[in-house]
């Protein structure tokens, strides 16, 4: 079922009967003498630099300070890429109690947990029968400085 409310750990885009999917986008090396290298010089574009998978990338606003030591603070904007398969150590957006939560994904011996960088904040462990959806992987944190 598409409904990711089953009583188990679900990965982003889990789809029964299908193996994990890598995004089909691939980078292409430009050969020598390609006219693209001669004429295609444009101003650097932040979209190209920070967004690898534009169709899978979303912005979210951070509320809270539990991830401050990962460089993610209250009010920051994060870029969330759903095309990346979550792995140990990634900062992820998880759905906990039907709300988005930003945490570090810790995978130890087949068990998963979501850890804040603030030691005072308890880690979230999926319990038996609890839902634990990973929505996407945070690739970039943006903060506006006062000017």
């Amino acid at each position: 079922m598409d409904d990711p409310s089953g009583p188990r750990f679900v990965r982003v885009g889990r789809d029964t009967g299908t193996t994990a999917v890598q995004p089909v986008r691939t980078s292409v090396a430009i050969s020598f003498g390609s006219p693209a290298t001669e004429s295609g010089v444009t101003r650097l574009d932040l979209n190209d630099i920070f967004i690898k998978n534009p169709q899978a990338t979303y912005m979210m606003r951070v509320a809270g300070t539990a991830m401050r030591d990962a460089g993610i603070d209250d009010g920051d904007i994060v870029l969330v890429d759903r095309a990346i398969s979550p792995a140990h150590g990634h900062i992820v957006i998880a759905v906990v109690d039907q709300e988005f939560m930003c945490r570090r994904l810790v995978m130890q011996g087949g068990a998963f947990s979501l850890c804040a960088t603030d030691p005072a904040v308890a880690a979230v462990h999926p319990r038996e029968g609890e839902e634990f959806q990973l929505w996407g992987v945070v690739t970039t944190a943006m903060k506006s400085l006062r000017v």
Partner: protein, 444 residues
């Protein structure tokens, strides 16, 4: 071989991506003007909510069954659609976008197991956008659409068909016997373009299933019905003869879209194309006596030109006052285009889509509380009648001399702006992907 890819319950699925609490609950999306249910989750369908049913008729389910209503959020749906379409486009040499949530892919010349391709496409779209899709394959578009219906039905109501056709169904790799069995279990009104009236008459003639229709005598059908039904039967038998442009229009939206032979790189060329599309869809809109309250424009580069910088933006422009006026619609479409166009890209496809449709009659007598004072494109009621006559004349000329004979000078188009303020929508979700102030919040 063709594939038809479409998003299950598109509008509801978009809402669920950003509001996980809606998952597993009965949800409907209401049209912004009259509060009719224009999208239903499977749970809402199971409660008996009908398509286009007015909200007041099902409102009691809010208390008794936890039904949740959201107002339509066309900016969100438009952006999610362009993401899904761009991902799907990578899988086949040719893509034809049919509606906001459906596209045909043409796999001509592609080898390999198409069911695997379909599952891969489905998983990629689900992972990258959160939107669940169904994929149907068939040797004609009508068969691909029917295979899609079978894939979706078996996913929603397991046991209707063999389990292996759920979500992805390929009519092309089935034994004749299995295909015949499936067609014999499928009602004739599931066929693309066979509406309620035709269905009733077919049933009178004892044609109830798709199998019955395929086996019917084509000459008799042509006499009793029309050439369109004959074409449909030919398509069901495996002969391609329907173009997307001639195909029945999808519900609640009108669109024109095309790939160009030569890539377009400058705004002028794209403006001409987009103006032409808008003229076409506006004529269709007036022919069905409807008004549109939102215009969506998209342009895309080709994912198959790997050396090119890729850009496939789409913009949805809400209109302060629903209209069928070509000038107002074109002005909105061109503003959308100008906002998203980036120099230095080879655009190969564009499309214009009219959304948030309503009957002409419904708009009359509405007070426009949200119009910009003295704002353009919001003609007073007196001017409306003149515009209707002008547009009627434009349509008549185009009908007589061919579409595109009479267009609008772009100078005129640009004087008309589109309204900035969308109608008030109490239950509308934030525009998570198109407005910085409305992006989702994540707890940290």
């Amino acid at each position: 071989m063709f594939a038809l890819v479409d998003v299950n319950n598109m509008y509801v699925s978009c809402e669920r991506v950003f509001k996980p609490s809606l998952i597993g609950r009965p949800v409907v999306v209401l049209s912004s003007n009259d509060g009719a249910c224009i999208a239903r989750s499977n749970e809402a369908k199971d409660l008996g909510v009908k398509m286009a049913q007015p909200w007041f008729e099902v409102r009691h389910l809010e208390r008794t069954a936890g039904l949740i209503a959201q107002s339509a959020n066309f900016e969100l749906y438009g952006d999610m659609s362009s993401r899904m379409m761009a991902l799907a486009a990578e899988y086949a040499p040719r893509q034809e976008i049919y509606s906001i949530d459906e596209c045909f892919l043409d796999f001509e010349g592609v080898r390999g197991d198409l069911v695997d391709t379909g599952r891969h496409l489905r998983a990629t779209v689900l992972q990258c956008t959160g939107l669940p899709t169904s994929v149907g394959f068939g040797p004609t578009k009508t068969l691909a659409k029917l295979a899609n219906h079978v894939a979706k039905t078996e996913d929603r109501k397991p046991g209707t068909y063999p389990a292996h056709v759920a979500r992805v169904c390929n009519f092309g790799n089935m034994s004749a016997r299995e295909l015949d069995d499936i067609l014999g279990r499928t009602a004739v009104n599931s066929v693309w373009g066979v509406g309620p009236k035709t269905t009733a008459r077919l049933n009178e003639g004892n044609i109830r299933t798709v199998r019955d229709l395929i086996n019917a005598d084509v000459a008799t059908l042509r006499r009793q019905f029309n050439v369109l039904l004959e074409k449909t039967v030919l398509e069901l038998r495996g002969t391609s003869c329907v173009e997307v442009d001639d195909a029945p229009a999808p519900n609640q939206q009108i669109m024109a879209s095309r790939s160009f032979g030569e890539p377009a790189t400058d705004l002028t060329a794209l403006s001409e194309i987009v103006s032409g599309f808008t003229t076409r869809v506006a004529a269709k809109l007036r022919a069905q006596h409807s008004l549109a309250a939102a215009v969506r424009v998209f342009i895309t580069t080709s994912p198959h030109r790997r050396q090119d910088a890729q850009h496939s933006p789409s913009v949805t422009m809400p209109l302060a006052r629903p209209t069928s006026d070509t000038r107002a619609l074109t002005a909105a479409a061109l503003r959308a285009l100008e906002g998203m166009f980036r120099p230095g890209h080879n655009y190969v496809k564009a499309g214009v889509m009219l959304m948030d449709l309503r009957d002409e009659g419904q708009a009359q007598g509405e007070l426009d509380l949200f119009a910009e004072p003295g704002g353009p494109s919001e003609p007073a009621t007196g001017a409306e009648a003149t515009n209707a006559r002008l547009m009627g004349a434009v349509d008549a000329l185009n009908l007589r001399f061919g579409l595109g004979s009479v267009g609008l000078a772009s100078g005129l188009q640009r004087e008309q702006g589109a309204g900035r303020h969308a109608a008030r929508q109490e239950r509308r979700s934030p525009r998570y992907t198109t407005r910085l102030q409305e992006i989702a919040t994540v707890k940290a």
